[in-house]
Symmetry: C2
Subunit: 373 residues, 2 copies
């Protein structure tokens, strides 16, 4: 074989839905020498990660830790632990990740019922509550910030209705965690999972998850073990929190990175961070509308603040726009897919790139590229 | 909460079974800025990783790539893709990881039959062949280098017997890959998986896997989908090799690290690397026997070369020895567990620590500590 390329990645400004730009402090922390996965130092960092995650998730849940897998591994952890074969699952389906939830739940042998909306729309409180009361599922799933559409689904009414029928609620907060308030306890979410490479501004590879006491109770009452050993929360809880008995060898370097990324978030303050993302989102939308584009998600209050989905204007070749931005300016954005293929851009403004200066610079390049396309 | 600890890990010499010491070049590569998971640069690196993995695995298998999970995730990938509910699985069980394989296969709903040996022993060709011919399982599983015992199980007779009854063979090469010849094609292994933090001298978090054409055929003929979506090799193959359609967001930084670790291995030459590990193993054993200790695995040809398991001498408190080494010299080694708890030390000599100088230094410290205990 020919000589492998040395690792000199091209410079990128990651304005896509994730992975996103990362602070140098996180890269530095990640490159520190590893210790063993049962070393007291690792266990201490892990403890601190759990504490910081509770702040970011907005929860007091004891069972709050990190899965050694990506955000999709977080989804599979949630579903494999809380959706049993033969049980009924209600999915509020309005985008790609709701479809993925559906697929995973079916593979677990669940009976999945769906309330569907067009991609980009959200469910009203009444629609969600009526669906749940009618179907009486054992588990309800929804996506808080739909990465495929940019739509933000509120959860409070969903959780209230679910708890009325004794259902657990699983919420996908993959895109929102760290950039928008997630407020697990206040909302009433039982299980929420996320990734590291979006709102938390960290490299991909880990999936934070949090589990409410009532969900933990249901988990402990399971008579059939989780079909997945790797994602079995009972075993993971034992490794991370109880006996520290070996389960798997955690991704130590990624734990270093996540620890530093969370420390940065707490230094800024979660409230300040959420406001910064909101402010930059408002700037972005103002600028994009000044360029003559419309946002796919019509109502401002239904928009994910750190992932913007402007519609592709008539006559514009979105693939060409994305290629030009990437090749000429090192700017990565993404397009739509599924029913939104060719119809939207997906533009993340988060983490270190969520500043007025970066937004202004982006809009300038984006505007020029659109004109030239 | 109190302020999180900045990431300043204590200096460690990782002489355990893994994670192991890592070359600075790997840390440097890992800390380079990430690109997107669909970026042409990432896809190119991924292609090169696959090529380099084929060399290390000793295979021409097209389906050779990396799972975004740890070695245990590799095990779950192998089992969830190649062990179907209701099918018969034969496990050659002589250590902890064989038990884990058994547990995972049972969770997949398989009918598991086991041929058992005491931990630390290995199966003769005839024993393995007779078991397989008698049981006629659909899948046979064994562990090449048992991390819990230090015993090395040869695979050629297992594979031949398995193929006689049209069974696939899954081999766990978690500890051996990169430090010992694995020779997938020559041995006849159908599915082999590993981790990154042992013989490959890379941080943990990824699981290399390789799949023979006949195993791929069986996989494609499955009528029931893999219960795991995350570890579904059909979907992963599509993302990495075919359409590059989004599946999950791969752990880009860990891919950088693995790419550099593999490049280092190929620069040294796999043959040279295996010989270096063998030489250091011989030195280690000589030194350990000079200290009056005996190796658990009696026959030299049955020993894993990069993971040594000397027995704890009568009257020595192995926990105290390990604590002293860690606290006074920053040297991490591990003890035995399960039936070998308190009975053996598990001492890895691999990667950057597999040099005559490191072995000599280790033996000196270890000898002093034993005397002082």
């Amino acid at each position: 074989m020919s000589s492998p390329t040395p690792i000199h990645p091209p410079q990128r400004f990651l304005f896509g839905p994730g992975p996103t730009q990362i602070d140098d402090r996180v890269y530095e922390a990640m490159s520190r020498p590893i210790v063993g996965h049962l070393d007291a130092y690792f266990l201490q960092l892990n403890e601190e990660i759990q504490q910081m995650l509770r702040v970011v998730f907005g929860t007091e849940n004891k069972l709050t830790f990190v899965i050694s897998g990506t955000g999709s591994g977080g989804m599979e952890t949630a579903i494999s632990n809380f959706v049993e074969a033969g049980s009924k699952v209600g999915v509020l389906a309005n985008g790609y990740f709701c479809d993925r939830m559906t697929e995973m739940a079916k593979r677990q042998g669940a009976d999945v019922v769906r309330l569907e909306k067009a991609w980009g729309e959200v469910f009203s409180d009444d629609e969600a509550a009526e669906f749940i009361a009618r179907e009486r599922p054992r588990t309800v799933m929804y996506v808080h910030a739909e990465t495929s559409t940019g739509a933000m689904q509120k959860g409070k009414a969903i959780c209230a209705a679910a708890h009325q029928v004794d259902a657990l609620v699983i919420a996908d907060v993959v895109t929102s965690l760290g950039a928008m308030p997630v407020q697990v306890d206040e909302t009433g979410i039982d299980v929420a999972y996320s990734c590291t490479q979006k709102g938390l501004s960290c490299p991909p590879g880990l999936a934070p998850i949090t589990v409410s006491p009532r969900a933990a109770e249901r988990m402990n009452a399971r008579t059939q073990p989780n079909r997945s050993w790797y994602f079995d929360l009972k075993l993971l809880n034992d490794y991370y929190n109880l006996s520290h008995r070996y389960h798997h060898t955690a991704s130590i370097s990624l734990f270093y990175a996540l620890h530093e990324a969370l420390a940065l978030i707490l230094e800024e303050g979660v409230q300040n961070r959420w406001e910064r993302h909101s402010r930059c989102h408002a700037e972005f939308v103002k600028g994009i509308e000044a360029l003559g584009l419309h946002m796919l998600v019509a109502k401002p209050e239904h928009r994910v603040v750190n992932l913007n989905t402007p519609c592709v204007p008539e006559g514009v070749d979105e693939t060409k726009v994305r290629k030009t931005l990437l090749n000429e300016h090192g700017i990565e954005i993404m397009g739509g897919f599924g029913p939104l293929a060719g119809k939207i851009f997906r533009i993340g403004v988060m983490g270190p790139l969520a500043t007025e200066a970066h937004v202004a610079k982006f809009l300038q390049r984006f505007g020029e590229t659109l004109k030239g396309s």
